[in-house]
Amino acid sequence: MPILDFGGSASGLRTEISNELASALSAVLDASGDDGGRYDTRTRRSLVQTIAARAYGKPLLELAYLIAAADQLSGRHGYVGFFWGVRAATSGAYRAAAFAAAGRSAAPREIEAGADELIISYPGPVFRVSYGRMPFLAALLDFCVTALGFSEMDDEISAFLSGPKDREDMQSFANGLSRRLYDFLKDHLPSQQYERKFNAMCSFIADRTDRRVSADAIDDRTVLAFWEECCSDRRAGSDFKGFRTVAINFLHLRLALKTAADRLAIDAAAPIGSSRDAGEVDPEEICGALEVVEGRRSVLAELALPPADRLKAINKRESARLELVMEAGDAAAVLPLTILRAECFGAHQARIVQAVRKRKATEPHGAVEALIDQKPVEDYGAATDDFQELTVQIRKVRLALMFILFRNARPEAFEIGFDLFPEVARALRNRINEPEIDFADNVVPLRPGGAIGRLLQGAVEGDSETMPEAGLFKASRLAFAKVNRRGFEEERVCELEIMEAATACEPLLRVCGEELRAFLAALERHFNLIPAEQVFEEDCRRFHTALAALYRETA
């Protein structure tokens, strides 16, 4: 099986995901629809999470019902016509297709197109599939067809469709498909490597702390000590070579342990014992937990996808800088040094890895030796300054987004304004004739029309010296003029797609700013105790020893 080895690369990716799996997923996710992708961001993310968590059991049962119903609804082209007859797989498109088919005189009696769902009355309990669920089920079927082959899948589906359709038949078909997917993923997405990593990290922590492993036991010292030990006994040759990879693994481990602890706490509080004690882990539950943690991790990806990508709110360099902070989520404030180390020494290690590769080809080994003896190009002071500048930049871009939203008379403009200038929210409270009960210190209810309409008008047309809302607008206009990036052009401000992009970008950028501020505050607390230069010098010594053990041996 081909292995991608990016042990010391910027991405820190070393995985045994097969080309075949990645290609199949890529084909499904890249499929085009009407003026964009066939599947929206949420559907794409759900599909990847479902595959990663192997949580396809229940969805396949839903799919079985939907395939059977779709085949009856769609006439000559059968289920293929229903699922792929729509260009963009949206709930609206499937709702329209279901209504059109169910309205025909020859429509089957067992299937009813409800307002929000397809109601399927085969023998056994009535089964309902909502239109909102259909894009995901379509993507799952798309993946099955692409990964397992249309011909084989179609034969299996045809046999299923020609038989009886009670609950057991549906379950039996779903189970068969589930087994086929399991067999495929066993070969193409092996989990042993991840399990091995989990065990190695937990063993290390248990040995080090002499107690059961918990999220709290993972700190910056533990991560560095683990990596150093891996480097010194060359265990790193297998799974833990790159510091950045190790950092990411510990971020994931910490989150997994924390989520598991929260879950146990909920169980303990429950009045009746849980069935979870049996030791079985429900993949659906894993997928649900993954969805929660992925919400923040996917922010950068969403900024790079429509509709947000019509504005270049974050450039490539900024995105790379933010990647680890966003991957860490709330752990960024717990493991700030680990993130900083991964940024500075991770990049340094990547250069050494590059030199090692070149040396293998042609160059003398002196280049590797020299690099190992050097310090990273960027020290902690410089990296921290860069992160600080990034917070300033994000604030500036959010102000520019506020300008776009003001110009389009969107109330969301005030959400940015009140977040960046809380004092304005307080000043405006008295100007709005709304029930006081809804008001917090820095919150103004943004209901359309009425007061908010007057505020929006006042912002654009009013005197910035006397009207706080006009002051907000003035600040946004000044910031907008300084953002020289794609989409931030005066003549395009009122285009629909720019307004949609600004609306989509704002909550994502807000999250980036929050994560970054929490991370920087944690770093500041750390460096108030021990100066950044001192930490950096000590780390240079430790990384030099570890990197020499890793790469000098092969020089």
Binding site: R76, F198, A256, L290
Partner: protein, 184 residues
């Protein structure tokens, strides 16, 4: 007294979440790094689009890929067979050695020389029954070798015609009684 259960290396949930979370990240990274890889599988939706309208941008792209990529050709053939409007099997050799007409209950395909343009021939498909669907793709399948596909224009009156160079491989196949045809 048993020790209270704490999350850790014996906790299946934490391990499963770590595995899923790591796999999820690796897949996302793989997808972003492999974005430029050539010869990725063609989305199934593109095949369906190609069959529905081979002259659309997606349809043309799939048809072009089918010429150079055996996997795309095979997949398109499979789907076309599944939804074929007409299967025209191999036939007995014509008395003059070259076939000019093939037909089923529903369709007739024939060749006619183009009188006003030297070296060209018309490939004509006519609907014989009162069905409403007209094919958008004609596929010639030789006894041995690779199939040859031609997109058909949209028809409103139950007939379509293509003008092809007389040395077009599709015409060679048509005249070969051992070859068979699909209309999809």
């Amino acid at each position: 007294m048993t020790e209270p259960k704490l999350p850790g290396d014996d906790d299946g949930f934490a391990k499963a979440l770590f595995v899923a979370s790591s796999a999820d990240r690796d897949i996302r990274l793989w997808l972003s790094e492999a974005a430029a890889v050539e010869d990725k599988p063609v989305p199934f939706a593109a095949f369906v689009q190609c069959l529905a309208d081979p002259e659309s941008a997606t349809g043309r792209r799939v048809m072009e890929m089918a010429v150079r990529r055996p996997d795309v050709r095979a997949a398109l053939m499979t789907l076309a067979s599944r939804f074929a409007l007409g299967h025209l099997p191999a036939v007995a050799a014509a008395s003059d050695g070259a076939l000019a007409v093939r037909e089923t209950d529903a369709f007739r395909m024939r060749l006619e020389a183009a009188y006003d343009a030297g070296g060209l021939a018309y490939f004509i498909v006519e609907r014989l029954d009162d069905g409403s669907d007209m094919p958008r793709l004609a596929i010639g399948i030789p006894e041995a070798g690779e199939p040859v596909m031609r997109a058909l224009p949209e028809s409103v009156d139950g007939g379509v015609q293509l003008m092809l160079p007389s040395d077009d491989p599709f015409l060679h196949l048509f005249r070969d009684p051992d070859s068979r045809f699909l209309l999809a």
